[in-house]
């Protein structure tokens, strides 16, 4: 990479104030894994009693840290837990050497923190296929463990960035029976973002008390409506990891609580949208609302076909209300559609209905809608009650520049 990328025009104005989550402390350090002059390793250490849930990429070429995390999920929570994440190298497709790197790191973190290695989770993000220089990380574990702080979540969010142009955080505070629980999370992700699996690196913490099995089920369900409904470029990382840690330090049992679920979904939706807003080269944030499909699953297939279409995404980049390309994407999706029942709108401008251009549609109305920074594409199939919403960004010259003009 050459000069730093400019911050996405879709970035939030600033990093949010995140509440302290009792029972978890953070630290970050500059290990020089690949990047120089910035932090690239974060450590989170959680108190005994913390339940850890996670969803991970389903890629058949997933990374050594992902395989290790999956093997450890559901383990005994009594001892507490730790998460160590590095940026700059994904430790993916690194064979047995990659597994050794994970073992060395988790053992060193266990030694430093007094946790069993079976409760130390890791993740690595960055270039695929290069051996991880894990010695550089090992050299920083003492420093990390010595500087843990309840107030260092923003620093952790910065340390895990790769082509991200801004750090991503979100939080919610939820009242349960007169008491309060807090949720705070961070994410990284900008390119190689596609749904159908967990997406990129996301860490969410809460002081609520929820058992591991319930926490895991809740995480998977909400993931299907949030992170599994975003796409930047249809390419799926080998490292995608989303972990949710409930320390229970509030003493408030949130198992099965609807307010807690809603708060968690707000945080996950916010973080997933921030990933789209930092999509490589993105200049437009696009919501695709599909209704009237034969099923919810069909609606999601149509939504993703639209959101992944290079021709739809370049039309949006060019502010071209080229709704014919939306028709094309629906047609190729493989899900049920009837041309003569199909309606399409850009924002509140109805562009097509019943298999043809809408009678009152004028090109300048569509063009005005496309000039906005946030664009909504509404598709009604006219077939049933199935619906889904997915989110994406446009496809611009900058995406090509980031991925072709620079050597990664």
């Amino acid at each position: 990479m050459g000069a730093p990328l400019p911050v996405s025009p879709l970035a939030p104005a600033s990093f949010p104030d995140l509440p302290v989550i009792q029972g978890v402390r953070f630290a970050s350090a500059a290990a020089g894994v690949k990047y120089q002059g910035r932090t690239d390793v974060m450590l989170a250490v959680m108190d005994p009693g913390t339940a850890v849930a996670g969803v991970f990429t389903q890629s058949t070429t997933r990374s050594a840290p992902v395989l290790d995390c999956q093997a450890k999920l559901g383990g005994n929570a009594d001892a507490g837990a730790a998460i160590l994440v590095n940026s700059g190298n994904s430790n993916a497709f690194t064979g047995h050497y990659g597994q050794s790197s994970v073992a060395e790191i988790t053992t060193a973190v266990a030694d430093a923190t007094g946790l069993p290695a079976g409760r130390v989770f890791t993740a690595s993000t960055g270039v695929i296929g290069e051996p991880l220089p894990h010695d550089r990380i090992l050299a920083k574990i003492g420093e990390l463990n010595g500087s843990l702080s309840e107030n260092a979540l923003q620093g952790a969010a910065k340390a895990i960035m790769t082509t991200d142009t801004f750090a991503k955080g979100s939080s919610a505070t939820v009242g349960i029976g007169g008491q309060t629980v807090k949720i705070a999370g961070i994410a990284k992700g900008s390119g190689m973002i596609a749904p159908d699996m967990a997406t990129m690196l996301v860490y969410i913490f809460t002081d609520a008390k929820v058992g591991q099995a319930d926490l895991q089920a809740q995480l998977e369900e909400i993931c299907n409506r949030t992170f599994n409904c975003i796409t930047v470029d249809s390419d799926t990382s080998t490292s995608d990891s989303l972990m949710l840690c409930a320390t229970g330090a509030s003493g408030v049992d949130a198992t099965g609580n609807a307010e807690f679920a809603a708060g968690l979904e707000r945080v996950m939706l916010d973080l997933s949208h921030q990933v789209v807003r930092d999509g490589e080269g993105a200049t437009k944030f696009v919501e695709v609302q599909v209704t009237g499909a034969a099923s919810d699953a069909d609606a999601k297939v149509h939504g993703l076909a639209i959101a992944n279409s290079p021709l739809v995404k370049t039309a949006i980049a060019g502010e071209d209300p080229n709704w014919g390309r939306v028709v094309m994407a629906i047609g190729k999706s493989g899900a049920a559609a009837d041309r003569d029942l199909l309606s399409i709108a850009f924002g509140d401008v109805r562009v097509a209905e019943k298999g043809w251009v809408a009678p009152d549609y004028k090109e300048d109305l569509g063009a005005a809608e496309m000039k906005k920074q946030e664009i909504t594409i509404k598709v009604d199939l006219g077939l049933g009650a199935g619906k889904a919403t997915v989110w994406t960004c446009d496809l611009t010259h900058q995406y090509i520049s980031i991925n072709a003009d620079y050597r990664s």
Copy 2:
């Protein structure tokens, strides 16, 4: 569109000399459907006894001409047949008006040629969702019918171009039992090119004698190895049509003949590659060879996942031997793979084997391979005997310019 696009650097040196196919005559004209100062309509008229086979897009939003062609396939060959194609407007998603346009055009061609309307096939290619100004085409049918010539296939190839930067033709001459049959075909296509269906507009003619059912079966089988194995941008047209017309004028029965099948496959492969070579913005021609898969179907899924990956395609554009992105694409494809059995080569340079970087791989070897204009990516899954080859091009700034910077 602004100024004409530069001719693709991957274009053949010149349009090939195509043999006369006895029993079919061609004409083209400038009807001004959308483009000015160029031809935009072609007519082909075939003698009685011509068998017509076709494969078409499976899009659920396919165009009115495609629906009309599909209804007419397999009809009585005794009367001969005609094909009329216009560029500049796809007559897709134009509702009942679109069907009326097809009826008016096929009736007018039938009247002029003396053929029944049920033997007049049409296709339209260009912008989706705008009513076809069919009166402009009707006004040219007399001129077209009056200027039919056995030698006008190249002119027909030019008339059906849209964002194509060169006209596409191919031919084969096949000996059968001491006699000779000829095959000649044309194609158009540059963007909105994805397999899984017939691809874009392709018309192939032969003077061999083959019954319609045999011709149709042969066309579908070869299409699965040629046009259904190419992709430019993963987007699938609403108008894709591939038609094969056997006039029988040579008197030579080619039914079930292996030489004829091989000749036809050469022509179809050549035309499909020419479409990739004219991929919007293409600077590299890429062959993806997948072997060792659990099945041929799995091999094709892996091949297309690689060929459709924006990150693989931008790496190729940037001449970056970023084989980690090939690993990523295999991992997300959904087909069976075992990371630790996987081998990858760029040309003759082995970059990865058995789940890790190849021991003798050096970055400069891979980089030299990527500087070539024609690149081969070889993937061996190590699982079974399944294999497939697919073809694509790179993803460049010019693709974005063609589809975003200009208004279509």
